[in-house]
């Protein structure tokens, strides 16, 4: 039969070895921070590039129909909104304050995760609907320059891709994200309840 003091001395007799040196840790921290920064920059940069590509298409081609202008306009606006939200998301992630008291930190994080999930859910539909309308408008004029078979192939491929993205692909991504969020929220709630205990 052991007393707590015996358990404590057993714990203290167990020396642990840290496998990483301070130099290695410093290099690792710098590398990770840089890679997070590069990843967000690449993401935002990619979106800005596609925005510029569509804007250039708009500026340098002489489209005749208003539908083409409207289509490109919607695509440019959607990409701009998405880029802005992406940028805001990255800023928000960096605002998670790991130095706050655990209970406060967990409730902030829970709120953030829920908001992010609902925003992405809504945003996905906005993005899909806006892009679908934009592509339909864009095709009115552009497809008239193509031969019949090319028209058919373009329509089938474009709509096939859109249907795939909004059904199978979307379902898989959303399910995975939902599972992760549910797991996190369940954990946050369980741990928050442990903090609320008054100790009686």
């Amino acid at each position: 039969m052991q007393e707590f003091e015996d358990i404590q001395s057993l714990w203290q007799s167990h020396t642990v070895e840290v496998n990483i040196s301070s130099e290695e840790m410093l290099a690792q921290a710098k590398k990770e921070v840089n890679s997070i920064r590069t990843k967000s920059l690449l993401n935002i940069g990619g979106m800005v590039l596609s925005l510029l590509a569509f804007a250039a298409l708009w500026l340098f081609f002489d489209f005749q129909s208003w539908t083409t202008h409207a289509g490109i306009g919607i695509i440019v606006c959607s990409i701009a909104i998405y880029t802005f939200i992406l940028y805001r998301g990255y800023r928000l992630i960096s605002q998670n304050d790991f130095t706050a008291h655990p209970n406060e930190f967990l409730s902030q994080l829970k709120l953030y995760q829920l908001n992010r999930f609902s925003l992405y859910h809504k945003l996905y539909w906005f993005y899909t609907i806006a892009l679908s309308i934009a592509i339909v408008l864009f095709f009115f004029e552009v497809l008239s320059y193509f031969s019949f078979w090319k028209q058919c192939m373009t329509i089938v491929f474009t709509f096939g891709w859109m249907i795939f993205c909004s059904t199978i692909f979307r379902k898989a991504v959303m399910n995975r994200e939902k599972e992760r969020i549910n797991l996190l929220i369940e954990k946050f709630e369980r741990i928050s309840a442990q903090f609320k205990e008054t100790g009686h």
Binding site: M1, V18, Q28, T99, P102, E104, R190
Partner: protein, 165 residues
């Protein structure tokens, strides 16, 4: 910049062992503890400019470690690996010395506690002053004392129960 690098290295050398022990107590697994240690010090590096000397730097780092542990989600890959490790431990039990067995039993007993209790008891085992634990966990000192008393009893009970088997 040089100064920040130096300060970070010094902070790491002074605190890494204790933080690793905390993470080890929380996860009961060396690899996960190592991941958590690195994640903690990554956040220390990112937030170092925010530290305002309002508390001890060790208290501040412990709080980051506690928050990192609490948000840690064991990946499926890691879980599979843990199960495998458990099996290996069970199969090779005769290779262990009595002390190693007791230590393994202690980690197993800690893992039976609730997440928050695991972190608190690890800090108690490492003899952190109660006011510091209260500051790290954001619990009032009065409540913390009652809580610690109960966790100590629970851990001792679990340990002895397992030791009898």
């Amino acid at each position: 910049m040089e100064q920040k690098d130096q300060l970070f290295k010094q902070i790491f050398d002074t605190n890494s062992k204790k933080i690793f022990h905390l993470c080890y107590g929380y996860t009961g697994d060396k690899d996960s503890a190592n991941d958590l240690l690195q994640e903690t010090f990554l956040k220390v590096w990112q937030n170092l400019d925010k530290f305002r000397n309002k508390s001890l730097i060790s208290t501040w780092i412990y709080r980051i470690a506690v928050n990192t542990c609490l948000t840690y989600l064991r990946s499926e890959k890691r879980q599979a690996k843990d199960e495998l490790t458990d099996n290996i431990i069970e199969n090779k039990v005769e290779e262990y010395s009595e002390k190693n067995e007791q230590i393994a039993l202690l980690y197993k007993s800690i893992s039976k506690l609730e997440e928050n209790d695991r972190l608190i008891i690890t800090m108690v085992l490492d003899e952190l002053p109660y006011n510091e634990i209260a500051e790290i966990s954001g619990i009032s000192e009065g409540n913390l004392r009652v809580k610690i008393h109960r966790i100590k009893q629970k851990l001792t009970e679990i340990y002895n129960e397992h030791a009898r088997i």
